[in-house]
Symmetry: C2
Subunit: 196 residues, 2 copies
């Protein structure tokens, strides 16, 4: 079963990432060694370094690709009316996060374990995502659809509210994700509405 | 400067807790040793065990007293109209959490490091706090003041939104905490309002 290093890396890479994601989410970055990741992948510890230079790079890679996916998949329909754009954003945000609880958990929990430079790069991506929502809110204020005093604060409030779904929602529970999303959309819609 | 063990514990206890809180918040529970806590307090590692049986007890103690303070200080004014009770809750929640960022950070970040039994006890306290807010929302639905389809979901949404302030608010920034609170109250108030 000898393989060239190239094909070996190609097969192992996604598995290393999946294992690292699961172990970091379960035990925390600080408590998980490269040796433990290698053992779970089923390779020698040394073989891991064919894939990643170190544990920090692995963490950064996981967080960066999570944020890159978020930005790539977020709806961007500048032609739609602001309330419709906001609805799409709310539905997307809840679904995207519900689909990848481990990656979301790490994206919040392990920020403190990034080097200063890596932290700055992740923050830049997070900021870019927040800017997407803020642009929708600004457009809605300009069009007269929304009544938001400070679009930056409303952005933070809405994202925190929506991401919170991950802390309590369990598939197969009292409500489906679709029902939950409808209720969050109702609250968000009202929260940004013009006061009577 | 010899002291009896009793007075020694009395003086050292609050300091041990303060140091543990700061170190756990900074480096994470898993990465902080009892030895490191002792060094920062300025005592021998063995002396720490006069105060706490182990690191798990120290973590649990910090989280439990945080939740106990939260419950003890939360406004409970069942005589007031539901919108007024909700306003008091929102103002209290933001201020209480802004005042103790390290304890809040740990209360969320270190849940996974509690033993199963300790986790269950902290969850019980958290549930009791959530129940306070849900009781206000239910009262407001009953009185016709609020239009909330599911008071449990609205409870989760509001708490996540308000706690999120801690992730971005810095004293001395663009807005005062009072101004920020006023904007969150505006959004919460609208989010639970009856639809037109």
């Amino acid at each position: 079963m000898a393989r060239t290093q190239g094909s070996h890396s190609g097969i192992t890479g996604p598995r290393v990432r999946a294992v690292a994601l699961r172990l970091f989410a379960k035990g925390g970055y600080a408590a998980v060694s490269m040796r433990a990741i290698a053992a779970e992948v089923g390779v020698q510890a040394g073989a891991l370094y064919n894939y990643t230079p170190d544990k920090q790079s692995l963490l950064f890679d996981l967080m960066q690709s999570h944020m890159a996916d978020l930005l790539a998949e977020a709806p961007l329909d500048a032609g739609a009316a602001p309330p419709e754009q906001l609805r799409q954003f709310v539905e997307f945000h809840i679904r995207f996060h519900a689909d990848r609880p481990d990656a979301v958990f790490i994206a919040y929990m392990e920020l403190r374990n990034l080097t200063r430079e890596n932290f700055a790069r992740i923050e830049e991506l997070r900021r870019a995502y927040e800017d997407r929502l803020e642009a929708i809110l600004r457009a809605g204020v300009a069009s007269g659809d929304f009544g938001v005093a400070d679009t930056r604060i409303a952005t933070f409030a809405i994202i925190a509210m929506l991401t919170g779904v991950n802390t309590w929602f369990r598939a197969g529970g009292r409500l489906s994700l679709k029902e939950v999303t409808a209720q969050y959309w109702d609250m968000v819609q009202k929260a940004v509405a013009k006061a009577d």
